[in-house]
Point group: C5
Chain length 161, copies 5
Amino acid sequence: MSFRDDDSSDIGPPVQSKLESFLFSCELSSKVPFYTFQDGDDEEDLEHFLELRTVCLGEGAKEESNVVEVTAMNHQGKTISVPIANLHIKCLPMVSLGEFELKAPVTLRLKAGTGPVTVSGLHLIALQAVDSDLSEDDEEEDEDEEEELPAIKPAKKKQKQ
Amino acid sequence: MSFRDDDSSDIGPPVQSKLESFLFSCELSSKVPFYTFQDGDDEEDLEHFLELRTVCLGEGAKEESNVVEVTAMNHQGKTISVPIANLHIKCLPMVSLGEFELKAPVTLRLKAGTGPVTVSGLHLIALQAVDSDLSEDDEEEDEDEEEELPAIKPAKKKQKQ
Amino acid sequence: MSFRDDDSSDIGPPVQSKLESFLFSCELSSKVPFYTFQDGDDEEDLEHFLELRTVCLGEGAKEESNVVEVTAMNHQGKTISVPIANLHIKCLPMVSLGEFELKAPVTLRLKAGTGPVTVSGLHLIALQAVDSDLSEDDEEEDEDEEEELPAIKPAKKKQKQ
Amino acid sequence: MSFRDDDSSDIGPPVQSKLESFLFSCELSSKVPFYTFQDGDDEEDLEHFLELRTVCLGEGAKEESNVVEVTAMNHQGKTISVPIANLHIKCLPMVSLGEFELKAPVTLRLKAGTGPVTVSGLHLIALQAVDSDLSEDDEEEDEDEEEELPAIKPAKKKQKQ
Amino acid sequence: MSFRDDDSSDIGPPVQSKLESFLFSCELSSKVPFYTFQDGDDEEDLEHFLELRTVCLGEGAKEESNVVEVTAMNHQGKTISVPIANLHIKCLPMVSLGEFELKAPVTLRLKAGTGPVTVSGLHLIALQAVDSDLSEDDEEEDEDEEEELPAIKPAKKKQKQ
């Protein structure tokens, strides 16, 4: 069906980045039902990602369904929302999400229930680096292809020219 | 049993790709019991992958088994279906699937139950790049081998010649 | 305790491979209690891996323990069996296994219960490539070491000479 | 939304590191409700990471919610706390967290319940290495960018100059 | 908090390794309550790792807590034990652990309950290779740093000199 080379961009040329990782915390309840993870006003070469790790009912959670919804951008550049967790204190008081990584801005919302629900994760900050050439040939054709990409790329540029 | 070099294609030559990642959302219910994730009409060098992340019962789910089935292509080029989630509001209201990645087209179907069930994931768009040579020898033999591959490769070509 | 360089073979020289990924589906029940994932008769440079993703009770599952066992080769070249899932419709109707990858042949068997149980996964097909030299020194010593390896390697050769 | 090149720092230049991995164990109860994972007094080029793997109720756990909280540094350099597990002996006696990696110092605390709760994980020790050049061009521009990074980097320096 | 370059050792110079992967199986019960995963007597350049994947109650498990404990070496070179699973046939009959990798020797023990409990996993065998130089500069300083490492490295040497 597919070659697994789709991960190859992670390591290969042409774009390199550095990545810092910090703890992320957010509590949602009926009082404060949403939280937006922002890009920040920092240096323009920095990108902020939220890697969701656990969603966890807190002390005092009632016997009710607590649904947590995430809002972020789809491939058409539109903002969409999707429930990612449904927790119940008598049945599933928490969930581990693996490494669910979303680019800022991301909004977390308590769509059903009153919580409290805590979302833990990692706040990743990436520094975009310029292209590095591992190979010296075929690069021109490669760059030609990249120029087709902006058609589907979101507004904020990701690569330094 | 096996050398773990099977992941090595992810990073090494000869095929490199770039990968964009967006939020994916889909709600299945008795009213709209299936959804097809398509390749899109975009540039032919782009490939679309669906990385399933969570399957989650929504508000109003009944006490019944909700089975979600995925349909995609097997290694013989035939379309096959397989249930990937069985959720029950009183027992397992959601599941985290890790990084279950499938190449478009992929159909998600509510095979049992009435939902609503939401499927979250990442919509990955890969741009295929040309071969880059990290080493300058042995490449010819390497390319000879690649030419054997199309025998098992699905119709849609993946590598630029 | 250990250096994490054990994953380094995934990417580094000397062996490179290409990897295709397809959907895998298998249903086990009292009628058809086992399934064997085979290597196939295809080109000899292809290797087949089964990456187990979910095990899921199907419609009509009874209130009983359903145990799914996997049979594959251990490090001594012997075939061994081990239960990898124990599901119950009232308690745990499905499980997500992460990326549990086994080399063909692999047999899946419904050891207890009557199912139906569906196993989803990815069928990975790897094409072995020849060695590529990233560095030009130390390679001879490296290759000497590789020649020690066949002592523990299973019968089917993995690397082209 | 994002290019997945954010992982590319893991492998590429300019910073390389070596990583050792050891078993980590910690038991929390009403008697000893917290534990701090420290950096140690060892060589200054070593960094200590805690990769949380499982949180597990122990023998004698009562029918109550046991909430485990983690305290570490956020992206603003402030210490924050977030519940990462909520376990109940009648409902969810343990959880597997995947690879939740945090840099020392990290404090684990039993915020609710009396335990005992055991936290398993890997204690990772990284040795920072100097830059290695895979490519010989574009490096100067690359290094210029790195010099912008310290603005958001925590106090403890990570790279040798 | 941290640069994610800690994984970079996985792929980069100076140490390369090859990795074979086999199925691992172990059953624990009141009759045979522990199992030790050993290094073996094979070639000295081989290292054995146990990657735990699932812990699963078997047929005939009673309504009791079954606690599985793992014993391995901590960062101080001492052998420590930590419960990694707590299963109950009426509540959580199995768990998927992701990729919890430990270096031999590792002992698995049924600390509470009578089982049977089966532990599945992968037995990884790594062949250490000599350093390969991807870059030709900065290596001397790099090697100087490596010589500081043995202070925290366990007795068994990992790198060929």
